[in-house]
Structures are given as structure tokens and as C-alpha cells.
């Protein structure tokens, strides 16, 4: 994933030098080969039992009408019916897709912009930077917790703290979380508020940019904005790319806040019906596990596709500083 390629490509510092392989140590190598599998065995068991087999099971289930109540042996094969229903017979499915895309398209860029902006502000060495960095990071850490979602919902109630803040300016507030036109926006604000994690990654990236580049640009008469455009953005593009991929995938998976806000329904009027919430409702409330499995597979393919698109288009704007621009 992005984790290996994005920032790693510039800083491939891991292994040290050529390995010292001793010839004629066949027995030792055999021992090492065996040991490799001994050490790998928990992971291998997990891969098979908890990941691979469940995935195959879920693929099969996606072509059945399985509900948890009938035994697996009596499950009916329904072919593509689940997928057909998803794409043509279930308007709320498309609605969930729209909600999720809207959420990701709006919240992710704004969150990254906030993260980059604050990172630029913090990108100086002076006492107190560490404190600010920590404080900005705190919301990300509390991130997906139910407690924070509860606080958020109450803050954006009709008589919540946000409206009383607006009242200071004589603005009459709305019941944001129960207004179908604003509930999703409230969740977006929550996501943007948690800009700390990408911010820390941006800060690390900013530290890597050689100051000579800025000095050279300043000598050439470039103002602050020009230096940002011509030096910071291109030099930071691998980190921007990394954050973009990670946050997008992260954004698609939003669940907790939407669940808490709507008490698990996706309301008001389906306005917070995130994809994962729809999946949860289908599988565990309506007990249509075949249908939910089909949804899960489309989700997986969509995420893989979007990641592929990112990597495909990344070549045109991500600059790696190790000589060649690709």
C-alpha cells in the first residue's frame, strides 16, 4: 500500500550493506528455513483462518441469500441477485454510496488543507512547538471513540454549545445533527477537526526539505507564495500523496460517528448512511448476510480501484527527489 511506496521510496535506509552469506552452510540454511516457518506460523494460521478463508466464504455468501438463522448447508445460491439488487433494486444502497463519496470528497481535502496549513505554521523550531504539536494531535488520538462522537452530537444539538456560540453574533442556529441537510456536514467537521495525524506527517515531510532550496528561491526573488508553490508543494508531494491515500481510505470507512449520531439508523432521513453503516444494518440488523457480503466485496473492489487510480495519476504530480521524477 501507500505505506511502503510513498515516503519510503525517498528514504530507503533500512538494510545495511550486502548480506554476508557463508557458502557451504547448507544445513544452517535448512535450519533457518524451518525456523522461518516456525516463527511465521501464527501469522500463517491467522492468514488462513481469520483472513483468507473468511474472504472466500464471504465471496461465496455474496452469491447466496444467507441469513444467520438457517444452517450453512441449506443456503440457497442466488447467483448475481444480491449484486443486481444493490445496483438496481435498492435506492438506499446508492444513497449510501453518495453519502460516503460526498463525505470523503469534502472532508478529506479540507482535513488535509487544515493539516498542511497548521504544519506550515508549526514548521519552525522554537520552544513550545512540541506542545502545540501534541495538542493538535490529541483529537486524532481520541478519534473514532464513541465518547467523542457523543460529545460532538451534543455540541451540535439545537441547544448545544455551537448554537450558543453563534448566538453571540446574533445568528440563530439550527438543530444541526437532526437536520438532514446538515447532519453529514456535522460529521465532516468532526473529521476535519482531527487533522492532527496527517499534520504530524506533513511536519516530518517539511523537515526533509533542504533550506538551500528556499534560500535559492529567495535569491531569485520569489515571494512567500511563490516559494510555497515552487518549492514546498513539489518537495512535499510524496507526503501529500501518502496522506491523501491514507485519509481517503480512512474516510470511506467512517462508522462510529455516523452510528452514534443516528443511533445506528443512518438518519435523519438517511443523511448519514455511510457505506459501512449500511453494511452493518444489512448484515446485523436485517440479518441479510449474503447481501452484506456482496456489499463488502464491492467496497473492497472500490477501495482497491481508488487506490490504483491514485497510484496511476500520482506519477503526474508526485515528485520523488531521488533523481528521476517518476
Amino acid at each position: 500500500m501507500a505505506l511502503t511506496t510513498a515516503p519510503g521510496r525517498t528514504a530507503r535506509t533500512g538494510p545495511t550493506g550486502p548480506r554476508r552469506t557463508r557458502r557451504g552452510a547448507g544445513r544452517a540454511r535448512l535450519g533457518e528455513g524451518l525456523a522461518g516457518y516456525v516463527f511465521l506460523s501464527p501469522w500463517l494460521i491467522g492468514l488462513m483462518g481469520v483472513t483468507a478463508i473468511p474472504m472466500l466464504l464471504s465471496l461465496w455468501l455474496s452469491f447466496t441469500d444467507y441469513d444467520i438463522l438457517t444452517p450453512l448447508s441449506e443456503v440457497r445460491w442466488v447467483g448475481l441477485a444480491n449484486y443486481e439488487r444493490m445496483f438496481t433494486g435498492d435506492p438506499s444502497y446508492w444513497h449510501a454510496v453518495r453519502v460516503t463519496l460526498t463525505f470523503a470528497l469534502v472532508a478529506v481535502p479540507l482535513k488535509l488543507a487544515a493539516a498542511l496549513g497548521v504544519a506550515l505554521l508549526l514548521n519552525r523550531t522554537w520552544r513550545g512547538v512540541g506542545l502545540f504539536r501534541g495538542l493538535f494531535y490529541l483529537p486524532s488520538l481520541l478519534g473514532g471513540s464513541v465518547a467523542l462522537a457523543i460529545v460532538w452530537v451534543n455540541m451540535f444539538n439545537r441547544d448545544g454549545a455551537f448554537n450558543s456560540f453563534l448566538a453571540l453574533f446574533g445568528i440563530e442556529g439550527l438543530p444541526w445533527v437532526s437536520d438532514p441537510d446538515w447532519a453529514l456536514e456535522t460529521l465532516m467537521v468532526l473529521a476535519i477537526w482531527q487533522f492532527g495525524a496527517p499534520m504530524v506527517i506533513f511536519l516530518a515531510g517539511l523537515k526533509q526539505i533542504p533550506t538551500e532550496l528556499y534560500e535559492a528561491a529567495a535569491v531569485d526573488g520569489a515571494g512567500a507564495w511563490r516559494r510555497f508553490r515552487a518549492v514546498t508543494l513539489p518537495m512535499l508531494s510524496p507526503v501529500i500523496f501518502f496522506n491523501l491515500v491514507l485519509e481517503t481510505i480512512h474516510g470511506f470507512q467512517g462508522f462510529t460517528a455516523a452510528f452514534v449520531l443516528s443511533n445506528g439508523t443512518g438518519g435523519p432521513v438517511d443523511s448519514t448512511l455511510m457505506y459501512t453503516l449500511k453494511l452493518y444494518i444489512s448484515g446485523f440488523t436485517d440479518l441479510e448476510m449474503g447481501y452484506a457480503s456482496a456489499m463488502a466485496w464491492v467496497f473492497l473492489l472500490a477501495i482497491a480501484l481508488i487506490t490504483a487510480v491514485f497510484f496511476g495519476t500520482g506519477r503526474f504530480w508526485v515528485h520523488y527527489s531521488d533523481g528521476d521524477d517518476r
Binding site: 516457518y37 516456525v38 501469522w43 478463508i53 450558543s164 482531527q194 529567495a218
Partner: protein, 289 residues
Amino acid sequence: MTALAPARRRPGGSRQAVRLLVLVVIVAVVLYPLVWMVGTSVKSQAEIVNNIGLLPERFTPGNYADGWTNFDVGFGRFFLNSAMVSLLTVVGNALSCLLAAYALGRLRFRLRKVWFTVMIGTLLLPGHVLIVPQYILFRSLGLVGGDWPYLPLLIPHFLATEAFFVFLMVQFMRGIPRELDEAAKIDGASPYGVFRHVILPLSRPALVTTAIFSFIWTWNDFFRQLVFLSNLDGYTVPVALTLFIDSTSQSAVGPMFAMSVLSLLPVFLFFLAFQRMLVEGINTSGLKG
């Protein structure tokens, strides 16, 4: 040239002051919800409705006692459940991911590259994709809603399925000089001995990072706990908190906030204790909060 960059010629002091001012405003906005949460948790019901200020006029610690004894079982039980699940997850993740990382990052064996690629591939897998079949599997094994309902939550962590930590540790181990392994081997150590005497002691930083993050993530996790826990006395804190929403009675807002504050306390304490490490952890590995 000088005309194009006037800002640079101004004394740095005023710009620095503006920068600081902007940062302080952002900090205030970022911290406001958290401070407000704590303030609300010690307000009386009447004040919660009427006084939206940060601080209560009358300090009402009773919300904590009320919240703690809510829902028959009591929040003490929920906290114990959460603590147990989180701590066992930490142990499972640290152990099993370290073993896998040693194999994938350090040993030479057939198909190693293939397994490594597969491991990287599983990094991409959203948990939501596996939840339905895993639920069915664990249920058919009689582990869902059983006497000890936490096995479905714990088993995956003892089998190194959180690829993220495996990856993190592989990266870490690449930084340990191979000469140490070679020296130990010349002294007659087997791969097990190298693991025990070289890798294990030197991996402390990676283990600690893994422990901190797997604790916080598990403590905050909601999705899996919601799916797998079905009996009230087995609930963990996040699942129990949703009971407040279900009951929708406005009278419970104070206790709800009190319990919310308490539920964030362990994470907050971790944050205070390991702030530097947490930030460096995401620096180097892209860990999310």
C-alpha cells in the same frame, strides 16, 4: 529584488507574534470540545440545558456516581471488560507480530517474498469486509455470546492479523545491524537463539510503540465490539456508552458525559505519558490516531 520580498526584511518579532496568535486561536478551537465535555460532565441537569458556558456555576460531581451505577451491571464492569480486552490485545499483538516480523524481516526461507507481499496486501483490507464471514465462523464455533465472549475479539490479535504492526516491526528490524546476528551465529546461536538474545531485547522500542497504539485502538474500537458482544455484562465501554443514546432520556446527559470523560481518560493518560513517542510513531510509520 528587495521590493519583491519586503516581508523578509521586517524584524522577525512581529511575524512570530502573529504566528503565535493564530496558533493559540487554533488551539482554542481544537481544545474547546474537550474542555466543554469535561465542564458539562460536572453540570447539573438544569445547567446543562441553560448554561452552555465552559464551566459550571455549581460543581456537580454526582454525575460520575450516577453514571457509574447506571445500567444494572454498572460501569465498573464495563471498564474491567475493556481493560481486559485491550491488555490481552496488546499482549497478542506484541507477541505474534514480533514473531512474524522476525521471520519476514530477518530470516531466509522459501516463499518469504511471497508471504511478505501477501502481508503488505492485507494492510489494505478494511475490517468491514471480513466482519460478516468472521462473525459466521466464530458463531459456528460457538464463540459468539458464549461464556467468555471476548475470544472473537482476541483470537485475530494472537495470530498477527494486524498487518500494520507486522510491517512496523519489519521496518524496525531492518535497522538492527545484521552483524549482531552473524556474531551470535558464529557463537553457535540458532535462529531461535538470535531471536531470544539479539532481536527480542533490541526490539523494545518497536514493541512499546505497538503496545501503545494497539491499546489505544482497541480501547477506542467500536465496530468489532458492537458486532461481537451481545450480553450486557460482557459489554465494553464503547458499546455501553451507546446505551445512553438508546435510552434517549434527556435526564441522563450529565452521567453520559461523565462516563464519556472517564472512557477517554486512559487514552488521555497514555497521551500524556507517551506524547513524544506517539508523535514520532506516526512520523516514522504513518500510524493513524
